[in-house]
Symmetry: C2
Subunit: 454 residues, 2 copies
């Protein structure tokens, strides 16, 4: 039996004999009775075990250190007056494996910084159990949403020869390390992907609805709480779809994923609400129930200018067409003005990517960012440029050699009528859902500049 | 509407007006009526459209080349006497985007070799639509199986500093390409992972049940039909579990995944059975219904020797304790002798990995490979060595510096009582389920030595 089984069935198991293997979280001897708190990771809750000198194996049990593994046989007893609904009166204890005294996770609180240094152990703490279980649930919720809507999951390649996308600095993948790429493993320069989007788009032309979900990489020397060198992205793409359908998809996906986590992980959310972010559950429940708004970029500029005229101070008060909105602007729009998640559409073409569809106004593209309260931009997407000449113009503008992406650009020659998609940084979503404030704390083994542990 | 919607609802839609956007597969003019075959990728089946000179847009429609995108308005008409259950009598055709004449996928058959050169387009062919849709379904089925059984999905890192596992040659990840690792991005040598197992094991100590599902890499100059430089692995790990529970898990997982594909993708399987492998559906249905057998390695040796004594010829007829079984031996055991999927357990310790649990006989380890008819080894796993001294002995034997893996080996100090898991190469499973004979044909964008396209 595992501890989840006891929690799921304690009503029918009361006064029954149960057997459990678990890890000792604490163990203290009283004069009459002793208490051992166990966890086995199958559920966030601990199991309280009561044992006495007459319990078989009392000697071994009373020696069991924190993190040791014990097997308990005992009777499940309801405890309606206590916080936990039941406990185990042990009839026997077997010490299966004794932990050393120097186990780094003793009962006291540890700083997130210390725990990051022991990422192979920190998932044993309740906070990280909660975070990583939610990460797992959310990953599944994403697959479930897309699969139920007939999207094909495409695993786009990690090793790529595309280096013209401009999404960020790339790592080189090599066996020779001598920059002689013709003689390297692939016979050409190979890098770690920054995005699966372009590959995904080619598959959307085959399946109409596809999504990617895999690791992406940035070789950027960023030391912020929001950037990691390795992180996971979700990139859906839909052929024959425009920006409005893209907006609808973002909203549907986000509500579905957050709703599924609320359904499956309320225990974890309640714990994290207490530990990391007051109001967390209301915040994410708000996403599920909200009617999202849509604003144009130019309307957002007007709103920001109005606020400034009325005395509001941003760090960046110079509002002009072409401004890349900062997080302060994004949060102001969705938190102070709209008070709900907000799509901003039709950004200036020169601050967005070469593949985005140019609008008829000649100055904006059919791009969309989703801004959410508490974080700002959560995901971004666009309708793609279908016109071959127009996309070639944008390549020229950005200094992209179209020959390096001829396979991608050339899709427009083989029947191409609208395509739209977006990218969601998975860790950013998990930070939002769990209240974790550092991306290093939502990745099992985070990779950042000068840090590569385990 | 998409074409899947028409197939799912053609009974209720009969004689109704429908509107469809699709890609032209073929277009031929008759004297009285013309026929256009469309596909939109939402379902394997095509849609037949009948149009006539009086159809609005007839001129444009009759010019539409293969791969062009058209919008059709028309009446859905049942065709009970034909292979397809219905067709569309077009009332109007709009040519949304005309394809160039040089579209590489014209109606004729193409070789797999040619199609591998255009992996950004080949998913538009029916064979690859079937394969990649099954790949997507199977990926989801894996997540579904583990999530429903309370396993936590752990995304183990792609970039790693572990280089002592011995699972295969590794790619180097660098920004400087000068072998001065102290001044490189991570301040130490970084590689692409060959397995998430060790990281996964540390999380199994936290959650009891975990699984990984992500890309892994081999910098090996293999030019076989079964090896790729980048492929996906599933690596579950269960704490407090022994080899018998591992065997049960492999069997349950495989039956669940294959069963789900049979439930969701019968159209695709029927198509692939016709195109790639006669008897495919019976073969995989056999997996779902089979009672798997368990043989020890030593019993397998006896069986092989018996067969040789009776005149059976293998390419390798020298059967001895320590032999690494070849595919011919594996297939002989499960196809000729057991006639069912077979677990082989208790391999010689010196041909298996350092982390596998040593059995009491002093010569074997608690390893298990699953052999299936038609392919041989499908997955392999083991119970892990729990004893610190014993694992250190095996490190010494293999020349592994234990300090490089002290975090992993040291897990045994912090309460460690049994752990077991296995690895399944996802592409090998997809080859088995789809009948594809080359790993390059089950990966959207395959990476192999000297080949890095798109």
């Amino acid at each position: 039996m595992d501890i989840k089984f006891l929690y799921d069935n304690h009503d029918t198991l009361k006064e029954q004999k149960v057997t459990i293997i678990g890890r000792v979280r604490s163990n203290r001897q009283g004069k009459v009775v002793s208490f051992m708190v166990l966890n086995d990771g199958t559920v966030l809750n601990d199991l309280q075990v009561v044992y006495k000198p007459e319990t078989i194996g009392f000697e071994d049990g009373s020696k069991a250190r924190v993190s040791s593994i014990v097997e308990i046989e005992g009777i499940l007893v309801p405890t309606p007056s206590r916080p936990q609904p039941f406990e185990i009166n042990a009839t026997s204890i077997v010490l299966l494996d004794q932990a050393v005294e120097e186990y780094p996770l003793q009962k006291k609180e540890h700083s997130p910084e210390f725990l990051r240094e022991i990422s192979h152990l920190r998932a044993r703490t309740k906070t990280f159990q909660a975070i990583f279980r939610i990460r797992s649930t959310a990953a599944f919720a994403i697959h479930k949403f897309f699969q139920e809507n007939n999207y094909v999951y495409v695993t786009t390649p990690v090793i790529t020869s595309n280096d013209a996308e401009g999404a960020g600095e790339q790592f080189v993948v090599t066996v020779n390390e001598d920059k002689d790429y013709a003689n390297d493993f692939f016979g050409k320069k190979a890098s770690l992907t920054v995005s699966g989007q372009l590959n995904g788009e080619s598959f959307a032309q085959a399946f109409k609805n596809i999504y990617t979900f895999g690791p992406t990489f940035r070789a950027e020397n960023s030391h912020t709480t929001k950037h990691a060198s390795e992180f996971w992205m979700i990139e859906p793409e839909v052929a024959f779809a425009d920006i409005n359908e893209n907006i609808q998809l973002m909203q549907d996906m986000l509500k579905s994923v957050v709703g599924y986590v609320l359904e499956k992980n309320m225990t974890e959310l309640e714990f994290l609400q207490e530990q990391l972010e007051p109001g967390l559950i209301d915040k994410i429940t708000g996403i599920v129930n909200a009617q999202f708004k849509v604003n144009t970029y130019e309307d957002v500029l007007k709103t920001l200018q109005n606020a400034i005229d009325k005395g509001h101070k941003f760090e960046e008060n110079n509002i002009y067409f072409g401004l890349d909105l900062g997080t302060e602007h994004e949060r102001f729009i969705c938190e102070e003005i709209n008070k709900c998640p907000t799509f901003v559409i039709n950004y200036p073409k020169d601050i967005k990517s070469f593949y985005m569809k140019q609008n008829d106004d000649g100055k904006t593209v059919a791009a969309v960012d989703l801004l959410v309260p508490g974080i700002g931009e959560l995901c971004g997407g666009s309708e793609r440029e279908a016109n071959l000449d127009k996309i070639l113009q944008r390549c020229e503008f950005y200094g992209i050699n179209p020959e390096e992406l001829d396979w991608y650009i050339g899709l427009r020659k083989y029947g191409f009528y609208k395509s739209a998609g977006f990218g969601l940084g998975f860790e950013r979503l998990i930070m939002y859902i769990t209240g974790a404030s550092n991306i290093r704390d939502v990745i099992p083994f985070p990779r950042t500049p000068k840090s590569l542990l385990y």
